[in-house]
Amino acid sequence: MVTTKIDKIAVLYLDMMAGFNVAVIVKLEPDFSEGNVSYNPDGTLNRAETKNILGPHSAIAVNAAFYAKVRHGAKISIGTMGPPTAESMLQQAQILSDADELFLYSDRIFAGADTLATAEVLKCGILKMGSKMDIVFSGHRASDGETGQTGPQTAWKLGMTFLGNVIEYEINEQERTVRAKRLVRLQGIYDVIEEIEAPLPVFIAIDPSYKARFSTVSQRLAYEKYQREAAARAQNFKQYLKIFNASQIEADPKMIGIAGSPTIVYKVERIPKGKATRQADVIDGQDAEQVAKAVSRIRQALSTMVIK
């Protein structure tokens, strides 16, 4: 029937208009929780015995992307650079975000990459995802590298506006802007919330304290619906998975792996413990008198402090 045909075209057209594309870059990290992690006698991580999982900060980034799916029906693509075993981590990420596509960039040549060379691979990978991204998310940092550089460097290579420490964001599809709250330090004062607006596309490094907020029943029902869809999809995650090597993402061999890394980890040292300058008194918590004494000393100390 003619009407249905027109309807279909209209829907298709709307789809194109409403098509909001989001990418997330994630990292495979060791599971540091007790009962899962193993250490060698010399104190280094026993990688063979320790399970690898989706890094905790990556998981938050994936959650942030899921918000765009629930609110705007965004198409989510997740990419990672890692060994072939990182597949199951991408499955974990799909469970969290109902991702439409999973990308694994895996090649021996990537080995030994520092943050800059990693960012190069991720940049090429994101460009290879096939959609023009409106937002790219990354975690705040990795729990094993702790540099927090890969996100910003990838943003720079992609030439995208970078928003770091984002704790909340809202998309305005009509205006094609994003409003974000950032948890920052200003003039020495911690935990200042800065609210900014930026035109799309943007690159967002998500803050560890990010939590998605859904304020109506219908939003929450949509959330539940996509979660169910995610669980179903993740059962056959390989159907959504594409594995690319260096040449497939058209990465310049000089810019990746050891060749593309201006830095190497030369040595890791423990931070020496500072010498305590203060004397500690150990008190018996059961003894009311001693506790009362400690309380009065705390009160005394507080009374001399100016708390703004």
Binding site: E34, G35, N36, V37, S38, Y39, N40, P41, G43, F214, S215, T216, V217, S218, R220, L221, E224, K225
Partner: protein, 622 residues
């Protein structure tokens, strides 16, 4: 404001049944649950019944969920139901299986965490078809009526407009209190239940309780294990855990305060129960304190990992279904291969890390809940305006001697409430006359309501028959006349008739006494019981250790406010709070809400709310 036809408050067994039933009737309903996930706030003693009363029909779990028996993750069908009277090391047992089977299709042990998640899947699937569903992590703050509209306010979401509300928010229903539908329950109307989940591999359980793969046992305890309180202990077999708990009349606890965990501990220390929960437990060796800190940590982590691996492997190897699954999945070639790997792991644990294997028991979870005694506190008018109350929220539960039922009552109520609401939606009439009274009438017709009002003489006979072997003089000293009347068929119906005319109010002080629950059973055990010895002394965790094992999502704001810090009641809460949240300070009783498991024991004299959405306790087993 968003609009939904029906809002259901609370995602327990009753709320979910209401959602399933309404959705099956083609109505749109949204269920709001405060826990981070459905099932995390729910706890029960542990038996769900399906009944076939002679007088009238009830809505059973398998009527609501047709695939219950084939698909639901209930634990075990209870096939053996025994009352154990205890006195020190002596136990006298009375088989009550006939009483358990009375008017029953079946009774199965359940863990609500797992079971309610299954109910959720079924109910949610049905609800989606009508544009409804389940929203967890949302705490309903209040309901207001304005300009002919009913508005539900929550802590987390924008207000919701609705046509009718089904309040399934449990024994501490805030809706009931806030809307003025009823007063808070008083201790005289409540029982306090405290429960621990004990781990025990499946095969060991089957052997120890002499039950097959598809069978289960339920044990009740009375006598000295009650520490002189009105109530008793229970032990139910789940699939690979045991539910061990104590349920006591809150009034009796207030009169003679005992720490709730001591009441569970008294059960654990009983030699018969010690033996029933016994298992093999790996114990960590001492880590050499002279080793470098990093090395100590490495060893600690390695030990944790080995114990975890061993425990998982052992659990699977001692369960027929899991064993077969692992072999089918190709993880092991045969059962022998599993045993070999366990033995080698065990040797490694002992040699490398000095882990010892001792006889003890393994506790997995501690929890508590209040149980409404329907004969004392059921709401006569279980509604206010267009809000209908079901299950615990309406104070509906059956407490008759060893017969304690709540889950099935809540499910039956929910089905009736769903019918009443569906009918009101069809005619767009939510008035008291059309919906509230209709629902009340439907509940009055429920055989469960009858059980909350009157004694069933046939049930009593079965009970008395079971106790036939007990010498008359033990019971006669207390109930000579009663027993004589009850033993004769003609006199029994006369006596029950007379008792029912008197009503439960006058009857209860005679029946529910320390004599019934403590003295008579203790004497039975002393005179008729067989001695039981325990081969070990269980290492019972302290309350602090028990709380440390629980999972909480801390809310910095307290959901409970102490109103009368110097009242006698509040002072007793220091003892009666199952997680020791109260302590005495200079200015009176103070609360530390962080360890609260939201049982409501202190509710009567406090400003008591459920925590905000996702906050507070999150049970794993329930």
């Amino acid at each position: 404001m968003e609009k939904y036809d029906v809002v259901i408050v609370g995602g327990g067994s009753a709320g979910l049944a209401a959602l399933k039933q309404l959705s099956s009737l083609g109505k749109q309903a949204v269920l709001l649950e405060a826990g981070e996930k459905v099932g995390t706030k729910n706890i029960s003693g542990g038996i769900l019944y399906s009944k076939k009363p002679k007088k009238a029909r009830v809505y059973n779990v398998e009527d609501i969920y047709e695939n219950f028996l084939s698909d639901a993750p209930f634990e075990r069908k209870i096939t053996k139901y025994i009352l154990h009277a205890t006195s020190k090391d002596k136990v006298f047992s009375i088989d009550l299986t006939a009483a358990h089977n009375y008017e029953a299709n079946f009774g199965c042990s359940v863990l609500l965490g797992r079971l309610n998640r299954w109910f959720l899947q079924q109910a949610d699937e049905a609800a989606q078809k009508t544009g409804g569903g389940v929203v967890p992590g949302v705490h309903v703050r209040s309901i207001r009526w304005e300009d002919g509209r009913t508005v539900v306010e929550t802590d987390e979401l924008e207000d919701i407009e609705t046509k009718a509300v089904i309040a399934a928010d449990g024994v501490n229903s805030e809706i009931a209190f806030l809307t003025g539908a009823r007063k808070k329950f008083s201790p005289g109307q409540l029982y306090q239940g405290v429960k621990v989940i004990v781990k025990l591999p499946e095969d060991i359980m089957n052997q120890r309780f002499s039950i097959g793969q598809e069978e289960g046992a339920a044990y009740l305890f009375a006598g000295d294990v009650t520490l002189n309180h009105i109530g008793g202990g229970f032990l139910y077999t789940n699939r690979d855990t045991l539910s061990l708990g104590a349920v006591y009349h809150l009034d009796s606890l207030l009169e003679n305060p005992s720490e709730p965990y001591d009441l569970v501990n008294a059960l654990l220390r009983n030699p018969m129960i010690s033996e029933l929960v016994r298992d093999e437990v790996p114990v960590r060796g001492e880590v050499d304190k002279n080793l470098p800190k990093e090395e100590q940590m490495r060893i600690r982590f390695a030990v944790t990992k080995m114990i975890k691996t061993w425990t998982e492997l052992r659990g699977s190897s001692l369960s027929r279904t899991q064993r077969e699954k692992m072999i089918r999945d190709g993880k092991f070639g045969s059962a022998e291969e599993m045993d070999e790997q366990m033995a080698s792991l065990r040797a490694q644990m002992a040699e490398k890390y000095g882990i010892k294997f001792e006889t003890d028991y393994v506790e997995a979870e501690y929890g508590a809940k209040l149980v409404p005694d329907g004969k004392r506190c059921r709401m006569e008018m279980p509604y206010i305006k267009n809000v209908l109350f079901v299950g615990d929220a309406a104070g509906r539960g059956i407490f008759v001697g060893p017969r304690i039922e709540g889950l099935n009552v809540g499910i039956d109520d929910a089905a009736r409430a769903a019918s009443a609401v569906a009918r009101a939606l069809d005619r767009n009439d939510f008035s008291d006359d059309h919906m509230g009274r209709y629902y009340t009438q439907s509940l009055e017709e429920s055989p469960y309501t009858h059980d909350m009002k009157a004694i069933d003489k046939d049930y009593l006979k079965i009970f008395l028959d079971a106790a036939k072997g007990v010498p008359k003089d033990i019971i006669s000293s207390k109930y000579g006349m009663v027993v004589k009347m009850m033993s004769s068929n003609t006199l029994r119906s006369f006596a029950v008739g007379f008792a029912n005319i008197l009503g439960y109010d006058k009857l209860l002080p005679i029946i529910e006494t320390a004599d019934t629950y403590v003295k008579v059973p203790t004497e039975m055990a002393e005179r008729l019981g067989k001695p039981v010895t325990a081969s070990y002394t269980p290492t019972i965790p302290s309350i602090a250790e028990r709380i440390a094992k629980l999972k909480y999502n801390d809310d910095p704001r307290s959901h409970i406010k102490v109103l009368k810090p110097k009242s006698e009641f509040m002072e007793k809460m220091i003892t009666l709070c199952p997680t020791r949240c109260y302590f005495m300070e200079k200015d009176g009783v103070m609360i530390q809400h962080e360890g609260c498991i939201e049982c409501g024991t202190c509710s009567e004299e406090t400003d008591w709310r459920h925590p905000a959405g996702e906050k507070g306790i999150s049970y794993q087993y329930g």
